[in-house]
Structure formats: structure tokens, C-alpha cells
Symmetry: C2
Amino acid sequence: MIITIANQKGGVGKTTTTAALAINLSRMGYRVLVVDADAQANLTTALGVTQEQASDRPNLFTLVEEIDDPKDAPMETAARVWLIPSINGLAHADLHNKMDRERILTRILKPLADKYDVILIDSPPSLGLLTINALAAADTVIVPAQTEAFAVDGLAQLMDTMAALRRYEVNPNCDIGGVVLTMYDGRRNLDKRVSSVILEALGDVVFSATIPRDVRLAEYGETGDISLIEGESNGAVAYRALAKEVSERWLRT
Amino acid sequence: MIITIANQKGGVGKTTTTAALAINLSRMGYRVLVVDADAQANLTTALGVTQEQASDRPNLFTLVEEIDDPKDAPMETAARVWLIPSINGLAHADLHNKMDRERILTRILKPLADKYDVILIDSPPSLGLLTINALAAADTVIVPAQTEAFAVDGLAQLMDTMAALRRYEVNPNCDIGGVVLTMYDGRRNLDKRVSSVILEALGDVVFSATIPRDVRLAEYGETGDISLIEGESNGAVAYRALAKEVSERWLRT
Ligand SMILES: Nc1ncnc2c1ncn2[C@@H]1O[C@H](COP(=O)(O)OP(=O)(O)OP(=O)(O)O)[C@@H](O)[C@H]1O
Ligand SMILES: Nc1ncnc2c1ncn2[C@@H]1O[C@H](COP(=O)(O)OP(=O)(O)OP(=O)(O)O)[C@@H](O)[C@H]1O
Ligand SMILES: [Mg+2]
Ligand SMILES: [Mg+2]
């Protein structure tokens, strides 16, 4: 099962959600691969892999340029989560001139799909070709939605993009499989307003687990300390509940 | 004076900083033009212009495609801030195949530069060609830095990009003119750790004004209600102080 984590709005928790889901699903016993499809490589950093280390081995750039074999790319990180790391150089990969350029990532993941129970793809804050590749490769898409400004316009635009992927048959199944409300601060009326708008529009796919604003999750981003995800803070508990919902929605066949 | 607001990390306050600076500088008596160089058009939305309105008139897409004349592009918005709006279609503009493609925006702004005291350019969360254009056009660059994860790596990568713009003489003056710490939460040790790292590395260009996390600023993003920027909340007061520093650093000749 390939799940892409996407939202072109910046800083809404895509990377944190990808890491937390990966760690939790791995702890639940699933064999998990994460793919860092963002040239900024925040997920790679959070999982404890430096740019130097990633550059010295197969990474998404070398796979895109067909220098390395996808089967040699996954590396094991904390909590037994496997990672295809990104490097900043990915920003200069010549994606635009490749054949069937929307499905480069789909082709890279094909030989790996049956080796893992779940593959999670972290994508950049844009609707450019890397994100299009991540959406094209997906069996389903999880959208982290921060309960703040620009959230709702962003969702509409993302859905238009997915509709185009279906229409052109780049990925006939491309659709939002789940929305997770993130950085929710229940004391602010803003968050309640925005979440009710999202619930009204997409209620049937919004996960019950809502991720609260939690300094422990911000600290996880800073340190990559996995104990912050495995701990008992409100945010960590919420991501565990989300992992359970994801498992029930797609992984327990 | 052309000032680009840039940081490839998502959700660090680029758009909010651009809007707040523009409104405050205009209130101080400067003639202000803002350019929304992000296809997600959050700044355009915040300043009260819908995608329908923007599509029906000159906008950055039509200027890039040389359909309209730059002199016809600015539109007046609240607080007498002039705006060149963006439309989502900008994501599909064919920038990559244009001649001298890093300086499309520089050329667009040339006939406008002496009509305004200050031009502010809001850029997207990426180091792609739109951001490169925004950096190439800049006399100086302001970097909003959220005091959280990934902030410091992001700054290093942005500085490498600016160095490349200087080295290739796309913009020999491209450099960080100022860093503003944003969404600072003084109760968290994380924010203190990250801000001290930034101060140590770039202390001489960090503005004294630090923007605190303030729900009024989040509400401004949601509503575009200018009274939230002109009000007395901690965030609004901080942005007024920032505008004063920006004025003193570059605009009072
Ligand atoms: N629930 C939360 N509570 C507090 N901080 C959070 C939470 N989730 C994420 N963060 C922090 O918010 C910031 C943005 O999160 P993250 O980097 O995961 O978002 P993103 O959507 O991947 O950003 P980008 O668009 O730049 O890729 C990071 O500093 C992260 O540590
Ligand atoms: N000081 C602040 N306090 C609270 N919320 C803020 C503050 N500054 C900005 N915000 C909110 O944080 C979110 C991100 O801010 P903003 O959109 O300005 O960042 P950005 O860097 O332009 O994002 P992107 O990378 O997606 O373009 C928005 O919802 C905004 O309303
Ligand atoms: Mg991310
Ligand atoms: Mg923005």
C-alpha cells in the first residue's frame, strides 16, 4: 500500500505526520518504507540521516537519474523504519525532460511495493513535478490540514490537481483517502472555525484523531529523538491513534 | 528599493510578514507595491483579491507570458498598498524555456521601480525558478525564520543559493539583508535554543523586532481584516517595530 502525505501549503505537518505514522506503524508490526520526496530533506534529517551520509549512498536523486537500483536504496533507521533518503541536489534533477515524467517515482517504487506492508511518501509544499510524482504513485493520499488560514483554499486546489491526475489517467485512483487536522489549538476560535469548514466539506474522510499543537512534536522535528514520538504527550498519543485508524482503514486486509 | 521575502521552509510567516510590512510601511507614508510571486496566491487572498478578480485583470501570470504590460498590473488594495496579484495558473507558466529565465521578474519590475518607494516580493516555499526570480530581482532579502525545527539547515541552503546567484552574476548583490524571528514562543526552550543558534550565526543582520506567536496574526491570514495588523496585539506591535527598522535600514536615505 503506497500512501502519499501531501498538502502544497507550507508547514502544515506533512513531514511530522509521515515520521510519526511510520514509527507507529512499524511499532505495530508493519514493515514500513518511507520515501523523502522533498529536496529539502527534512524527513531524512528527522530520521537521523545527514546530507553527507545520504549523498554517499543511493538516494532519491540517484534513483531519479537511474544511477542506482531502487532495490539498493532503502536504509534502515530508528524504530526499524526503512528510508529512501533525499538530498538537496534533488532540486536540480532534470525531471522535466524525462519520458513519462509524472511516473518516475511510480516506476522506482514498483520493484519495492511487495517488500513492504506500507510505503509512505513525504512531499514538498508545492504542486510541482515532485509532488505530482508522489500523487501519481499513491494508492491513497493523506492530507494534513493545519486548522488556520489558507487551509480550505489549499484543499480545493489539491483536489483539482488530483482530479487532473485522474482525468489524464496518470493515476485513475488519485484521491484524498484521509484528512488529519494538525496543530489544532482548541482554545482558539480560529481552529474551531476552520476545522468545522473542513468537516463540513470532507467529513467522511477526516480522521477522528486530531493532532494538537504540542511542543514535544516540535522538539521531535528539532532533534529527531524518537522517544518524543513514542512518549505520552498529547501529540504523541494522537499520532498513535491516527496510526491505528490508518491501519484499520487500509492495512488490515 | 526591491525587497524579497524568502525562506524555502514552509509556513514560517513569509506571507504574513510581507502583508504586515506593506501595510505598516504604507501607513508610515511610503508608496508600497507588493508582488505575489507564489502560485498559491495567499498574499493576494489576504489582501482581499479573489482568484476570479485576479484572473480577470493583469496578474503575474499574464506579465510572465507577456500578455499584459507591467505598468497596467498594480491594483490598489486596503491601506493603499498596491498589489501585483498571483493566480494559481502561475504554476503552469512556462518559465523554464524563456530567455534569461532567472530575470523575468527583474524585467517586469524595471518600469515600476521608480514609481514606488519600496517593492516587496512574497515568494513560495521552494528554491525553484519563481523563488530564483524573486531573489534575482531583489536589492536585499528579508528572511522570516520560525524558531523551530529545520530553521537553521534551511538558512544555510538559502545562503548557498544566494551565493550561486552572486557567483553566476544573476544578481551580484543577492544577500540576506535581514532575518526576522517569527512565531516566537518565549515559554518554550526550543524557541530559545533555535533563536540563539540563529543569533550566533547571523546576529548582525537579525532584526531587533521578534514576532511572537499571536492568534491575531493567524486570524489576519484567515480573514484579511486589516484592523488585526493595525491593532495593539503583541504581534501587530512587533510588526510595526519591524517596519520601523526596515525603514531605518534601507528607506530613509
Ligand atoms: N502538532 C504539532 N505541534 C507543534 N509543532 C508541530 C506539530 N506538528 C509539526 N510541528 C512543527 O511545525 C513545523 C512544521 O511541521 P512540518 O515540517 O512537519 O510541516 P511540513 O508540512 O512538512 O512543512 P513543509 O511544507 O516545509 O515541508 C516543524 O517545526 C514541526 O516540528
Ligand atoms: N506570528 C504569528 N502568530 C501566529 N500565527 C501566525 C504568525 N505568523 C503567521 N501565522 C500563521 O501561520 C501560518 C503560516 O504563515 P504564512 O502563511 O505567513 O507563512 P508562509 O511562510 O508564507 O507559508 P508558505 O510557505 O506556505 O508560503 C498562517 O496560518 C498564518 O496566519
Ligand atoms: Mg515537510
Ligand atoms: Mg506564503
